[in-house]
């Protein structure tokens, strides 16, 4: 820390500005796709359910937003012996 820092007051406005810009960029996106997560969840569960018997309650979908990269995490809990759905297509 240099000596000038002792005299200079902390400037918080630039921090406020940056935090707002990042937050609002995400919120605006979420606003236009407010049902995106639910929609993804339903469709993903539907696809899995076509082949495997899953408990809908045990499918967790999480969207994590970072500055540069966002991640979509899909967590499907299944019993040790995977209960397949018997269909004609699955027999192949």
């Amino acid at each position: 820390m240099n000596l000038m820092a002792l005299f200079r007051r902390e400037r918080s406005a630039p921090v406020a500005r940056e935090r707002l810009q990042i937050l609002l960029a995400h919120e605006r996106m979420a606003g236009s796709h407010s049902d995106l997560l639910n929609l993804l969840r339903e469709e993903i569960v539907d696809v899995i359910a076509r082949h495997i018997k899953v408990d809908r309650e045990k499918v967790k979908i999480k969207l994590d937003r970072g500055d540069e990269v966002s991640t979509l995490e899909i967590d499907v809990e299944m019993p040790a012996a995977i209960p397949l759905v018997k269909t004609q297509g699955a027999a192949a």
């Binding site: 005299f7 937050l23 919120e27």
Partner: protein, 271 residues
């Protein structure tokens, strides 16, 4: 042609009611026929800020429910005869504010006035939705502070999707009114600057109202600041905002801090 204007913000306490009173008065002082409408059912305050709290007999809910005629509920200002107030109900709840009822009232007000200024309650619930529903123009009141800017962004999104104009694919005119602005703190980097807020919200600036004792005095007295202290910087900001709303175009001057030489030399260093 009548313009319906909503004064909104999302966040509470940023100056919606004060701004409604001051803008309404400024427009009326310019000769326009103005009605200010309080949409804050249960927590009305526009009557108090306008100094008409003892003259309220009927309110908007009485009109909606057919207990009074619109003309009976309207209160004409004693100082400016082109300014009227339609108070909100203090005793009913927000559910009494029905879509049909509000539509009927706004339609009737459009026939009588040049400007219908709707003072929105805080929040994004029914009252706020009803206040913005019929708007042609929106004044988004924002303080240079993170939570207020975030809420304003949310409200701008709602103005673009939930109003009748938006549903008809028409553009709603949106303006930013920056209130409680402290130029000295902004200059020191302690408060968001006008440019920061404008860049983040990206809607045109209608005015900057400096934080001032004149605004507080005005509500203490029950008089819009444009009437109680027309030469104050806050009143000037509202007069200019009203001129812009009427379509005049001219440069906006950002208020600067006025400081003595000694203050300039030592002001920043003293905590």
């Amino acid at each position: 042609m009548t313009r319906v204007l909503v004064v909104t913000s999302g966040k509470g306490g940023v100056g919606k009611t004060t701004s409604t009173a001051a803008l309404g008065a400024a427009l009326a002082q310019a000769g326009e026929n103005v009605v200010v409408v309080d949409f804050d059912v249960g927590l009305r305050n526009l009557d108090l800020v306008m100094g008409a709290e003892r003259r309220v007999v009927y309110d908007m809910i009485n009109v909606i429910q057919g207990d009074a005629k619109l003309a009976q509920a309207l209160i004409r200002d004693k100082r400016i005869d082109t300014l009227s107030l339609l108070p909100a109900s203090q005793t009913r709840d927000k559910d009494s504010l029905t879509e049909e009822g509000v539509t009927k009232i706004i339609d009737q007000l459009r026939e009588k006035f040049d400007w219908v200024i709707c003072d929105s309650p805080a929040g994004i619930e029914k009252g706020a939705m009803m206040a913005m529903r019929h708007a042609d123009v929106a004044v988004v009141v924002t303080n240079p502070e993170v939570s207020s800017v975030r809420d304003s962004d949310r409200i701008i999104g709602m103005l673009d999707s939930k109003t009748l104009k938006a549903e008809r694919d028409e553009r709603i005119d949106k303006h930013l009114l920056l209130t409680r602005y402290d130029p000295a703190r902004a200059a020191r980097g302690e408060m968001l600057k006008t440019e920061d807020v404008l860049e983040i919200l990206s809607i045109p600036l209608l005015g900057i109202v400096p934080e001032s004792v004149d605004v507080l005095n005005a509500s203490n007295l029950g008089s819009p600041v444009t009437l109680s202290n027309p030469t104050s910087p806050a009143a000037k900001a509202y007069f200019d905002a009203a001129r812009r709303l009427r379509g005049e175009q001219f440069d906006l001057i950002v208020p600067l801090e006025r400081k003595s030489l000694m203050g300039r030399l030592f002001g920043r260093r003293v905590a």
